[in-house]
Amino acid sequence: MKMRKIKDLTLRGLTWLCAGVTAAMLLFLLAYILLKGVPHIKPSLFALHYNSENVSLFPALVITVLTVALSLLIAVPLGVFAAVYLAEYAKRGSRFVRLVRTTAETLAGIPSILYGLFGSLFFVAWLGWGYSLLAGSCTLAIMILPLVMRTTEESLKAVPDSYREGAFGLGAGKLRTVFRIILPAAAPGILAGIILAIGRIVGETAALIYTLGNTADVDPSRGLFTSGRTLSMHMYSLANNALYTDQAYATAVVLLVVVIGINALSAFLAKKIVKR
């Protein structure tokens, strides 16, 4: 009997220990980077142009915003419409639905380096776009598509059927019901998914190096065909260069703040759905 008690206590202790180790790891990582990085955050880090003396992250910040915007512009309508099809129109369990679901799951499992490889073969080389904002954004749009699809579908399914019945009962058509009743009701969940997708784009590196290129400065005259690098890629270049360790810490802080903000926003929206 005593042995068993010891065993129970050990097991319970182990669960506390492992959860504690996990939390401690996160806190250590955050604290380490914040403590080392915050003192190096200077206004010059946000200077308009990048050069080897002042490795400004501003151009990277602009490219990040543009990449996020462009990727969402492509992926959100496609993903939301696809989810509307799956949740509202498709016959449950039909062969086409199964195919769409299987391929979406496959997409979700593909690592980002393979997206990068595909993007560089298809958008950069085959379509001849070169390393460009457009090629990078299209690559990322495919990458986040399954995420947008899945979160949207889940939010659509969470909308009670009484909403649909009510709309039909009042004489609204299917399309009107979808756009005026169901999508607005599902909006917070869809938004939470989109914000998660933004987080993935902001954190992405491997899929972009050979699609967006990895150039430090931006050439605005080339428009969508300018190459560039996002904040994560900027961070990657700095981290691999011993000259810029301080700036790398500072850039890591900025990146972490952005990611934490995005996470908090997504969690806030997700909570809003649960409440309703």
Partner: protein, 293 residues
């Protein structure tokens, strides 16, 4: 709301939009198709030219001499993935039990966002953390130059934690309470009921978590590349303090300047990785099916 076409007539609008929705759903299928076509078409010629066996089992990778053997990288990927699983899965499972069955409610409100954040941290930040913290740590504690198999495993072990914990936790929560209550009614303690009854009942979910962890670890690129050393040498398992190169790192390191057969061989490296991933996906969906049935 319905942009572009301003069709007034409902009898036209309905089928048109239905068609738009269907086509949108097709993009996922189209994307997978294109990815398969372009990766396979880009990689197969090189495998043909080099020879399947020579490519997959060759131990020398020297592009300047037209030596394209990727066995060191295949083995390298397997080593760091195995290491990550060895370190991450036990910790992850215990932590998941904590989250689902032990954690006091107020603490849960802190742990859940913490895990989400752990999942959201970009891999370059993990890689940078690896360079400035883990590499010196491994160098000073175990010797070697610090950029090694074990460093990469350690970092990947941390990175897969949120995946493993998240899926295991939801699998544990999906086990009907009756099982736990029954065990307790039969005189089992809380721990015994959880570890002896609930955890085994969630077995396929736990397996799915491991499989997904494997997928994440084997596909991770930047963080691994930053701490693994990247030597293209075939290592034995006991050389865990030496550097290895993974399949992913091979692509990202050389794709920027590779030309001709070298470039094709790198795409073929991606194809090998892709096949691994497809197998892992297949395994994962099989496990999921078992769970829902």
């Amino acid at each position: 709301m319905i942009s572009g076409i301003t069709v007034k007539n409902r009898s036209v609008r309905e089928p048109v939009m239905r068609w738009v929705f269907t086509v949108s759903a097709l993009t996922a299928v189209l994307a997978v198709g294109l990815i398969c076509v372009f990766l396979f078409a880009g990689g197969f010629p090189a495998i043909g030219k080099i020879g399947v066996l020579k490519f997959l089992t060759g131990t020398v990778w020297k592009p300047t001499y037209d030596d394209f053997g990727i066995l060191p990288m295949i083995v390298g990927s397997l080593y760091v993935t195995a290491g990550a699983i060895l370190l991450g899965v036990p910790v992850g499972i215990f932590a998941a039990v904590f989250m689902a069955k032990v954690c006091p409610k107020p603490l849960y409100g802190f742990m859940k966002p913490a895990l989400d954040l752990l999942a959201g941290i970009p891999s370059v930040v993990y890689g940078f953390f690896g360079i400035v913290v883990l590499v010196p740590f491994v160098r000073n504690t175990f010797g070697g130059d610090g950029s090694s198999m074990v460093t990469a495993s350690l970092l990947l072990g941390i990175m897969i934690l949120p995946t493993v914990i998240g899926i295991t936790e939801s699998a544990l929560r999906a086990v009907p309470d009756e099982l736990y209550e029954g065990a307790v009614a039969l005189g089992a303690s809380h721990e015994r009921a959880v570890f002896g009854v609930v955890l085994p009942a969630a077995k396929s979910g736990v397996m799915a978590a491991v499989v997904l962890g494997v997928g994440r670890a084997i596909g991770e690129t930047m963080a691994v590349k930053m701490v693994a050393g990247n030597q293209t040498v075939l290592r034995a398992p006991d050389e865990f303090l030496k550097g290895v190169r993974t399949l992913t790192a091979n692509v990202v390191l050389e794709m920027g300047y590779a030309e001709g057969l070298h470039r094709e061989a790198l795409i073929a490296t991606g194809v090998v990785l892709f096949v691994f991933i497809l197998l892992i996906n297949l395994l994962f969906s099989a496990l999921k099916k078992e769970r829902t049935e």
